[in-house]
Symmetry: C2
Subunit: 323 residues, 2 copies
């Protein structure tokens, strides 16, 4: 199937790697709002200005939209669902119903599929929450993130005066993880679940005490957490913190019968958040194409897609080898 | 929806608990090959002889078949798929294609759904193998079982002369688990992955040395494993080993980009194997009923069922709260 990538940041590059790994996929090109000649995809894929998409309706089976959830996706996904099967990683939880509705209307009018909120959270984590609560109704679910880089929190630190660069790691509290895994069903505050570790490169002569205070007291981002701030050099930042690892666990605890406890854990340990997310998008792009070929249209999420649709193998093969 | 349970052993009792927990389900009755008056379901459900099923085609939406894979299910599931939506936990891996084909033919001819091989392995573990390999093609999957009671291995010990009772635990080797979780992709022999712990009550005057030797050298069951045998009293057996805990992990490791590693683990820690399996069957019974109502028929596995079909909640609700 023929894949287009819209947006060539970290996520777009992750999708590019994933498309190369899937032998049934071909990358038609990378689409950008920038000057296409300024973008050089690692794979040598062609680059086009985003405005070219309207002229390429027959050349692309699925358009993977790699934009930001704040402003890009609410506009882009419905727009392109009128022309292509599309898929995005929209992750603004409160606005998912509205986004779903907009994409649904656009995709249905065009007879296309639009899969939204795909990746690992929302995405694989959501699936595990749903499977667990369906199997063990009345249980309790916990989500822990990390250890991993939060780009939003890193950006928030970078906006503080005197900060040249910053990287923020979200770290689950081991004692909280242990308590949940033991099936104790603890009630946990925000502070008890995660800590935040910040690595900061300060401008020459900057007031480090003021920077630290600005970080640890920042509302929403840090004030509710135990936060540590470590000042490092630019070289150390580059050497030790250039990756984008992430991961976490969805843990569900439930009971059956006369007090029998069950603990279900789904755990991800990812060297590269954008490359793993891009890989999930590629697998669901396959599903989008297939269910559209089978006559379906409208907005979908990971909840609506039968797992077999993600695999390039036949039903016979997956039953024989993976069941 | 109206549920029938065929077979009232440990699994049937597990399904009975699960049906009670699901408010949209009603237990029509328990069906047995024994004299129905000799079976007293804990919930007070009605009991019927299995032959009554033919007269109750309109009274049952889904029949959950709780029989053994060796001889019961290959005969029962196709037979009752001609009358009802059915679901089973068939787990003889080599015969899944044949069983699928038989159930498919029967269910299609009747316009019914037959979900086979449902539970946790095959079942939830299979799902996680498929999701992981679809997202990260070319990776490696490992399955560890336990710590948990293997009923087949316990039965094998009980057949040895001089053995009054026995319980066998399958235990994953911690060093093997650690090596896999670290992303090292080790090649592991059977012996390196699991050990087997046997607790045996011997008959008075039995030759314990001979029993031990018979166990640890038993082909297929124990010879390929490091096996420990501990003799205990009947009281200790009853006090310490009356549960049927189980669980395990599916661990998948894959790479993206320039050598970025990812580890995905799905882990179950279950106090009661049959009650958890029964809970999975109940959730998929809901799906069987729904997709049949929507016009589908034929054999299905967990791979073919969209996750949303398992939940009693509406699509709007699961998107708003669990995505």
């Amino acid at each position: 199937m023929k894949i287009g990538i819209l947006g060539y940041g970290n996520l777009g590059r992750g999708v590019e790697y994933a498309v190369e790994k899937n032998e049934d996929m071909e990358l038609v090109g990378v689409f950008t709002r920038r000057d296409p000649s300024s973008v050089s995809p690692r794979s040598g894929a062609k680059t086009y200005h985003v405005d070219e998409l309207e002229n390429m309706k027959d050349d692309i089976d699925v358009l993977i939209i790699c934009g930001g959830s704040a402003t890009d996706l609410p506009e882009m996904t419905p727009k392109y669902a009128k022309m292509f099967n599309v898929i995005d990683s929209f992750d603004t939880h409160a606005k998912i119903p509205e986004h779903f509705s907009n994409v649904d209307e656009a995709a249905k009018s065009a007879g296309k599929i639009g899969i939204i909120s795909c990746g690992w959270d929302p995405g694989m984590f959501s699936l595990n929450r749903l499977y667990s609560m369906s199997v063990l109704p009345g249980g309790k679910d916990y989500t822990f993130w990390g250890k991993g880089v939060s780009q939003g929190h890193s950006d928030a630190i970078r906006r503080i005066e005197g900060v040249k660069d910053a990287r923020q790691y979200t770290v689950p509290v081991p004692a909280a993880l242990d308590a949940v895994r033991s099936g104790k069903n603890p009630e946990l505050t925000t502070r008890q679940k995660h800590t935040r570790e910040c690595f900061v490169v300060a401008e020459d002569g900057a007031d480090k005490e003021a920077i630290t205070k600005a970080i640890v007291t920042m509302p929403n981002y840090f004030a509710d957490y135990d936060t540590t701030v470590t000042f490092i050099t630019e070289e150390e930042m580059k050497r030790d913190h250039s990756g984008l690892p992430h991961g976490g666990s969805v843990i569900y605890t439930g009971e059956t019968g006369e007090g029998n406890k069950h603990v279900i854990e789904y755990k991800l340990d990812l060297d590269s958040n954008p490359e793993f997310t891009g890989s999930v998008l590629a697998a669901y792009a396959r599903a989008a194409y297939r269910i559209n070929q089978a006559g379906e249209s409208g907005a979908k999420t990971v909840f609506d897609i039968a797992p077999a649709q993600l695999s390039p193998l036949s039903g016979d093969d997956i039953r024989a080898h993976y069941l």
